[in-house]
Symmetry: C2
Subunit: 421 residues, 2 copies
Amino acid sequence: MSSTRIESIAAYDARYPLPEGVGSDAVHKAPVYCFAVTRLKTNQPLTATGITLTLGVGNRMVCDLIELLAAPLAGLEIEELMSDFGQFSRQLSDHPHLRWLGPHKGAGHLALASITNACLDLWAKSRGVPLWRLLLDLSPQQLVRLLDLRYLEDELTRDTAEDMFRAQLASRKQRESILARGYPGYDTSVGWFGYDDDKVRENARQALAAGFRALKLKVGSSDPERDLRRAHMLRELAGDDCLLMVDANQQWSIPQALDLCAKLRDVRPYWIEEPTHPDDVLGHARLAQAIAPLRIAAGEHVPNRILFKNYMQARALHFVQADCCRLAGISEYITVSLLARKYGLPMVPHAGDMGQIHQSLVLFDHIALDAPVVFLENIPHLRSHLVHPAQVEEGVYRTPQAPGCACDLIELEEPPLKSTA
Amino acid sequence: MSSTRIESIAAYDARYPLPEGVGSDAVHKAPVYCFAVTRLKTNQPLTATGITLTLGVGNRMVCDLIELLAAPLAGLEIEELMSDFGQFSRQLSDHPHLRWLGPHKGAGHLALASITNACLDLWAKSRGVPLWRLLLDLSPQQLVRLLDLRYLEDELTRDTAEDMFRAQLASRKQRESILARGYPGYDTSVGWFGYDDDKVRENARQALAAGFRALKLKVGSSDPERDLRRAHMLRELAGDDCLLMVDANQQWSIPQALDLCAKLRDVRPYWIEEPTHPDDVLGHARLAQAIAPLRIAAGEHVPNRILFKNYMQARALHFVQADCCRLAGISEYITVSLLARKYGLPMVPHAGDMGQIHQSLVLFDHIALDAPVVFLENIPHLRSHLVHPAQVEEGVYRTPQAPGCACDLIELEEPPLKSTA
């Protein structure tokens, strides 16, 4: 294996306008999906790509921060960098000029996500393996050295983290069958907020025909009757066996959430997603108690391992929707996976990466940590921009085989580079 | 009163390098104090200034966001704007292009702080009164219309907030004596982290001679013995009657905090400030229980009312160090004051504004909400840049009399404008 050294870093502000209604929720009526992209060029014919998601003009700022934060990567050899990446990541996350803007949240943390994901992409490509293979080939010690476990000392030390991986080594083999079967997906794109009832029905029929057995509906309307009507409509159409999730995108107060969850009970939602503000840990905990047996999914706006620790300690969520584009990349995602394992909670990542990275991470969670197989969100709208779009067939993610994190973007690969950096 | 209309908005990136050691803590060895400044020009000979604090190059980004977010202010009449400012503020805080970078935290929220503070400055100047007078002259209904109480419905509705102000109207008169006496200060500048022991001793002697009866020491060193030695040194020098606070600037894990707080008990600190990560609400709650009768101060990195609600519900802090430069400005500060009043907790603001705005807010807290008088942080390092620096005499803030929020900066008043926008 020849040595791979990072020679230059560049950020790209890639924006993808969407057709009407696509991606809409109770907050974002007409979102633009944007990737703040980190590109690493090396001394080899290897270029790495890291992404994080934002929704609009703020993407420019994340790109500026990528260029600022990633500067120390220049000249580093990838194996050396990744041998103590947790320490490196901690330093970036405590940048003395930027920490005040967080800490460990906001635009700087999103920039760190993109940078971290690029480093993992480069590492996997330099070894010629897809991300899930890279991670499974690491020893427990190597895995833990990727992580910044600071502020988790009351829950998770380096030793306990290593032990958790070590304890699952012997039984890994039997869980590797998932690689051939593929990981189940679910369809988020059925019930965007802006779609009318006809469109939701049509999408649901198509999704069921395509093999999906779990569908999501956006709720959180200022007109709760609309939400209830559409939820019942979807349950009727999909039948009793299909899982149905509802997503309020933080639009409810605690009293509203209590009211609406009671009214939604008949629809038997598999989960209630983001019922209220993502910082309201104790609000979620109160809801979780009150609406049982309904369960709560949250995480796409939970910015770091410390808040996830609080969510878990407070028994405030049932499905952990961590996102390696919201957290400080793949490494903090793995940290949250360890916490989830400790608390017996399933990882059901939010796909800010359109599933490209998480398709590897859920395989890793299952095989390396014996995480339960649930399903992975499928959002197909950016497929045409990806060099290796996830292959979802019969509602199942086919195990990716291309080296890296599957985040290379067609427009950045074809000269001239569409750079707005 | 002639109508005052906002004609243009500009942001200024004002940076103030500090002498060696000044402002240093366990995280920031050589900070640069920066204000991200909002300037509102009007159809009158009135210009308003709003500020938020950051520590370095990230300030530029907050300025960019000010210009983006504040654009809708152009053309608005100030009385009209402030008659429903809570709704206006909510709209800015949910900007669909920026909300993903928060929500309600990070650079966008800091920008909103600066913008909000500029609006309040203009309102007070247009009425020819200092901020505390402006606020005291508002009716309970007008006050509550300044606020965005969303996500607090389980603790604080508009009606209960109005009732809380109304309940204190009759007894206001007796508390107005504070205006003549002035509000006590405490000296943060004694024990910056980078000062050597001699310098700390010298500063402490000067602070005591100047009339201060409360001093703060920065701790959180990687060498806990240094922290303990300096804390004992300061207690010996200051005597038993002086209040002594220690500030760990988030540097301890929960186990370290438990250990160090036990060791610091002999020094009888009045509070332990920021013992661990500001997102670790339940960690603070556990500490609060374990270290009693020692008490916890926190808030300078608590970004919004929702996390403060969680801190209070969890009984995780004893002194509320809200900062109108970290929260979305003066209006969210008042919201947190209402929560603190409900929970019987004292407001002891963090002075990201160098005390310029908070000197009015603590007077308002006491007179309008019967908040207890504690003391206000005094950080004198930017005095020479302020048109109306706070007057602190014999350790007491003299009640400010100049119209507005006292944030006008000398360099921005004297032509040519030092603009880097």
